[in-house]
Symmetry: none
Subunit: 236 residues, 2 copies
């Protein structure tokens, strides 16, 4: 038997942890098992999409149970999850643009920036919350450099060169980074003290992060899935 605890019917944070957990697991099965339906060149991208949701599924199990046991933010697990999945998303950008001749250096730059973004965010949220504003700003700068790079920098040029479905997919992923990822700084502001207390003071950081994760991890993967579907159909 599993050790099930009672859940309050109005524990909305717990609710989003549960839904998130199952959604991530289901998405992983979906991406993994659909791999074989596509041309070899898309399989790695789908595999990485599945890994992102799979890693998240495992951490959601922990976070859900951590929340159920202590009613406390599982910040530790949250960032472990991000530090693995966000770099994988950068790999995804690279994989998609590889057909247009993307270099590994692009991938490493994005990975480096995302790690800077997350490490400074973790320090602000968990280690030095008194200076959360400053750490958040540093993190935000790294975030903006990523946005710049994919929207206007090298990555953008490669996507234009590739054209067609790849360009469309790249653009969709860019929107995820610009709008979807912007959910996280809101969660951060809701959960740390700063000038923004008056705006996001009463919100719950975990609900915001959970919604963000569902949109970004599963949505990101679906864009890649769609790219594989479209290119397979148009080639046929």
């Amino acid at each position: 038997f599993l050790s099930v605890t009672k859940m309050a019917t109005d524990d909305y944070v717990g609710f989003t942890f549960f839904v998130g957990c199952m959604a991530m697991l289901a998405a992983s099965v979906f991406f993994f098992l659909s791999m074989s339906s596509f041309d070899k060149k898309w399989r790695t991208s789908l595999l990485v999409s599945g890994l992102i949701t799979f890693i998240a599924a495992v951490h959601y199990f922990y976070m859900r149970d951590y929340w159920a046991a202590f009613e406390e933010s599982p910040t530790f697990f949250r960032y472990i999850d991000w530090v693995l999945t966000v770099p994988l998303m950068c790999v995804e950008f690279y994989l998609i643009l590889k057909v247009a001749g993307a270099k590994k250096s692009l991938m490493w730059r994005l990975i480096f920036l995302s790690v800077v973004m997350l490490v400074t965010g973790y320090i602000g949220e968990a280690i030095d919350p008194a200076n959360a504003q400053i750490w958040g700003l540093a993190s935000g700068i790294a975030y903006f450099v990523i946005v710049y790079d994919i929207w206007l920098g090298t990555a953008k040029k490669l996507a234009v060169a590739a054209g067609g479905e790849v360009l469309k997919a790249h653009k969709a992923l860019c929107w995820f980074v610009l709008v979807g990822w912007a959910i996280y700084p809101i969660g951060y502001m809701a959960g740390t003290p700063g000038w923004y207390d008056g705006i996001f003071g009463g919100w719950d950081l975990n609900i915001i992060y959970n919604i963000g994760d569902a949109i970004n991890k599963i949505g990101f993967g679906l864009v890649v899935y769609n790219l594989a579907v479209q290119s397979t159909t148009s080639a046929a």
Copy 2:
């Protein structure tokens, strides 16, 4: 529900155990699921790469929870893991060089040396730490024979005979053994008493071992993966 314990936000050893655990699991899924995209002759190598990270993932689960429960080095699990995975890495060398006519005797010699290296290391670390220096020296000698064998001995000659991508992959693996594996003796010196106390005294053995494992197990596997990718592309 899982029995989750609280994690201190500054428990960096615990952090590396968690990240390591998940990274190994994700890497295993990656290697296992990418097998089918490659030519049959590379599948066994990828399978072995996946086994190495999979075995590590299981032990990281134990080590992580051991650490969380007792804040003590899980030396026992650490060496169980190594005594299984390091010989598998020796198998990997053999598998790659098989195309160039490597003999099983090469594989067995490397396996034997690696077991000597690990058994003497375990005695020094866990059973007779008073003589850690001597056991470490014995272990180090076995390590150097391995390095010699792959860099300059039989294995090297076979790699040169094979040429092309195999030679490149062999060279990359050689660098892992020379530089990546050298991380472990540093951890050993940080964790045992000896003349080297002044140098590595304050370092934490587990963080060092965890970083070493992440680099060596996953990196090693990625070299093999890359070899499969390259030979598949160039064949097409």
